[in-house]
C-alpha cells in the first residue's frame, strides 16, 4: 500500500508532472509565474483544491450517475474554489488583489477536472487525495522555478512581493543593484521561452537516464558463428 502511494507521489511530482509533461493548466502557469511568490501561491491554492476535490469526488464516486458526472465534478470543484477564494480574500488580501481573476479561474483549470476524471473517479479516497496533492505539488514546483527564473532575469531579485504573504519580509537581491533588468523575461514571451527550456531540461534528464539503463544490444547470430 505504501509503495503504491509513493508511486502516486512520484508520478504526480515528476513522471507525469502537470506543467512539464502533461502541459495542462497552461493559462495560470504562463500568466501568473512572473515571480516565485505569485507562482507558488497560486500553485498551492490549486494543490489544495486538487487534493480536496479529488478526495470529495472519490468519496462520492459511487453515488454520482455516470452520465452527469462532469457537471457534478465541476460543482464540487467550484464549491472548493469558492472557499479558497474567500479565505484568500479574508486572510491574505494584498495577495488576493495580485492574483485577481486567476483564483476563481482554478475552477476551469483542466488539470483539476482531468485528475478527478482520470484518477479520483476510479480510486479510493486516500490515494485520490494523495494523487491530487502530488499533482498539485508538481505544479507548485514548476510555477516556483518558472517564476524564480523569470523574476531573477527580469529584476535581479528573488521573492519579489514576499511582503504580501509574510509581512515585513524583503526580497533577496542576488544581482547588483544596477542590474538593468531583462524585461522580456517578465513579459509573456519570457514565460513561453523559460517554460520551453524547463521542458527541454526535463526531457534531457530523462533521455540521459534512459540511455544509462539501456541494455547491451544482443550480438547477431552471424557474429557468434564467426
Amino acid at each position: 500500500m505504501n509503495t503504491r502511494l509513493l508511486d502516486i507521489v512520484f508520478n504526480g511530482v515528476w513522471k507525469n508532472n502537470a506543467g512539464l509533461v502533461q502541459l495542462l493548466g497552461m493559462c495560470p502557469v504562463l500568466a501568473i509565474s512572473t515571480n516565485v511568490v505569485n507562482g507558488a501561491s497560486l500553485g498551492i491554492a490549486t494543490a489544495v483544491v486538487m487534493a480536496s476535490s479529488n478526495a470529495t469526488a472519490a468519496a462520492l464516486r459511487n453515488l454520482i450517475p455516470y452520465e452527469i458526472r462532469i457537471p457534478v465534478f465541476i460543482l464540487i470543484i467550484a464549491a472548493l474554489v469558492t472557499i479558497i477564494d474567500l479565505a484568500l480574500n479574508a486572510f491574505l488580501h494584498p495577495l488576493y488583489l495580485v492574483l485577481g481573476i486567476f483564483v476563481p479561474l482554478i475552477v476551469t483549470n483542466c488539470l483539476v477536472l482531468a485528475r478527478i476524471e482520470a484518477f479520483a473517479a476510479k480510486n479510493g479516497v486516500i490515494s485520490s487525495a494523495v494523487d491530487g496533492a502530488a499533482m498539485g505539488g508538481g505544479l507548485v514546483l514548476v510555477l516556483s522555478v518558472l517564476g524564480g527564473v523569470r523574476e531573477l532575469l527580469g529584476t535581479g531579485a528573488l521573492f519579489n512581493g514576499i511582503e504580501l504573504v509574510i509581512p515585513g519580509a524583503h526580497p533577496i537581491h542576488l544581482l547588483p543593484h544596477d542590474y538593468p533588468g531583462f524585461l522580456l523575461a517578465i513579459l509573456p514571451p519570457g514565460a513561453f521561452i523559460v517554460l520551453g527550456c524547463l521542458v527541454a531540461a526535463r526531457n534531457w534528464s530523462d533521455a540521459r537516464k534512459a540511455a544509462r539503463v539501456r541494455p547491451q544490444p544482443i550480438r547477431p547470430a552471424a557474429e557468434l558463428n564467426a
Binding site: 538593468p180 531583462f182 524585461l183 522580456l184 513579459l187
Partner: protein
C-alpha cells in the same frame, strides 16, 4: 576548369564563400556608417563578432559537432555584423554581447543550428533587446556628434545622460514631431535630423548598403526577388500614403533610406534559412514585410519596423513555401 563527371555546370558556392561575400558586401555600408557616426560602430562589430564566435564554439562543443567546419563557415560572423549594425553604436557593451549571445544560443542553436532556425537570429536578438531595453536601444548619436573617445567611454561604462549625447534618429524625430499639435511634415523635414534626402547621414549609409546589395546581386548570391519586392512594396505603400496625406506621411525616398530598410532589403530578408525559398514565395514574403514595416513604423510602438516585420514574415514562410511550390517540369499546374 573542366570536369569529366557530371554535373558539368557547377556552383562552387560553399557556405563559407557565400557568407564571405556577404561580409564583403556589407563593407561599403559599414565604412560610410563609421565615417559618419563614429568609431563606436567598429567597437560594436568587434564585440559582437567575438561574442558570436565564443557562443558558437560553446554551443558546437555542447552539441558535439565538428568545431572547425561550422566555426569557419562565417555564418555566426554575419549574424554578429548584422546585430552590430542594427544596435545603437553607443549602446553599453553588455547590450550587444547579450544580444549576440541570445541570437547564437537561443535563436540559432536551440532551434537546431545553421539551416534549421525559423527566425532570423539577428532580428530575433534585436526584437528581444528592444522589448527589454527600449531606452538604451534607441540612443543613437547624431551624425558626427561624438568623438571616438567619448563613444568608447559610453560603450564601456560611464554615466549616460540621454539628451546630452544622443540625437533623435530620423524615424524617431518624425514620430515625436508629428505628435505635436499643428505639426507640419515639411517644416519637420527641415530640422537637423534630416538631410539631403531621407535622414541626415542615414541616406549615405543606405547608399552604402545599396552598393553592397547590388554587388551581391551581381555575384548571384541573392536573387532580385526579395530586394525588389521589399523596396517596391515600401515605395508603393509610402507613395500612396504620401499622395493621400502629404502632411502626415513622408515620401517614398525617405522611407527607403531611413532606418534599416536597405539593410533589410539586401541583407536581412535575403537570409536563405529563415526566408522564403521559392521565387513567387520570395515576392510574397518580401512584399508582406514591406507593408508590415511601413505599418509598424507609422502605427506601432517602436521606431523602426524592419525587425518585427521580418520576424512576422519568418513565421509565414512555411505556409508561403508550401503554397508557392513551382510545378515539377512536365506536370500540369494545379
Amino acid at each position: 576548369m573542366t570536369s569529366l563527371n557530371s554535373p558539368y555546370l557547377r556552383q562552387a558556392n560553399s557556405v563559407t564563400q557565400v557568407m564571405g561575400e556577404v561580409l564583403l558586401a556589407l563593407l561599403p555600408g559599414v565604412i560610410v556608417y563609421v565615417y559618419i557616426f563614429g568609431i563606436g560602430v567598429l567597437i560594436q562589430i568587434l564585440l559582437a563578432t567575438l561574442t558570436a564566435l565564443v557562443c558558437e564554439a560553446g554551443m558546437l562543443k555542447i552539441r558535439s559537432k565538428p568545431l572547425g567546419l561550422y566555426l569557419g563557415d562565417l555564418s555566426a560572423v554575419v549574424t554578429a555584423w548584422l546585430i552590430a549594425l542594427a544596435f545603437p553604436p553607443i549602446g553599453p557593451w553588455w547590450l550587444v554581447v547579450a544580444g549576440t549571445a541570445l541570437a547564437i544560443v537561443v535563436a540559432k542553436h536551440l532551434y537546431g543550428g545553421l539551416g534549421q532556425n525559423p527566425f532570423n537570429p539577428a532580428m530575433a536578438a534585436y526584437a528581444a533587446m528592444i522589448v527589454s531595453f527600449p531606452a538604451l536601444m534607441s540612443q543613437w548619436p547624431g551624425a558626427g556628434q561624438l568623438g571616438g573617445a567619448a563613444q568608447a567611454a559610453l560603450i564601456f561604462g560611464g554615466e549616460r545622460i540621454a539628451d546630452a549625447i544622443t540625437g533623435a534618429t530620423p524615424l524617431d524625430a518624425l514620430r515625436t514631431g508629428l505628435h505635436a499639435p499643428n505639426a507640419q511634415l515639411i517644416e519637420l523635414m527641415r530640422s537637423q535630423a534630416f538631410g539631403a534626402f531621407g535622414g541626415r547621414g542615414w541616406e549615405w549609409v543606405s547608399v552604402g548598403f545599396l552598393i553592397g546589395g547590388l554587388y551581391l546581386l551581381a555575384r548571384r548570391i541573392i536573387t532580385w526577388h526579395v530586394p525588389l519586392a521589399f523596396a517596391g512594396g515600401l515605395v508603393l505603400i509610402a507613395a500612396i500614403a504620401h499622395l493621400l496625406a502629404p502632411l502626415r506621411y513622408p515620401d517614398a525616398l525617405f522611407e527607403l533610406t531611413a532606418g534599416a530598410a536597405m539593410l533589410g532589403a539586401f541583407f536581412i530578408l535575403t537570409d536563405p534559412v529563415s526566408g522564403a525559398a521559392t521565387p513567387r514565395g520570395k515576392l510574397i514574403y518580401a512584399g508582406g514585410a514591406a507593408i508590415l514595416t511601413w505599418i509598424i513604423r507609422h502605427f506601432g510602438g517602436y521606431p523602426d519596423g524592419v525587425a518585427f516585420a521580418t520576424l512576422l514574415m519568418n513565421l509565414c514562410v512555411p505556409l508561403i513555401d508550401m503554397k508557392t511550390q513551382p510545378p515539377v517540369f512536365g506536370h500540369k499546374k494545379d
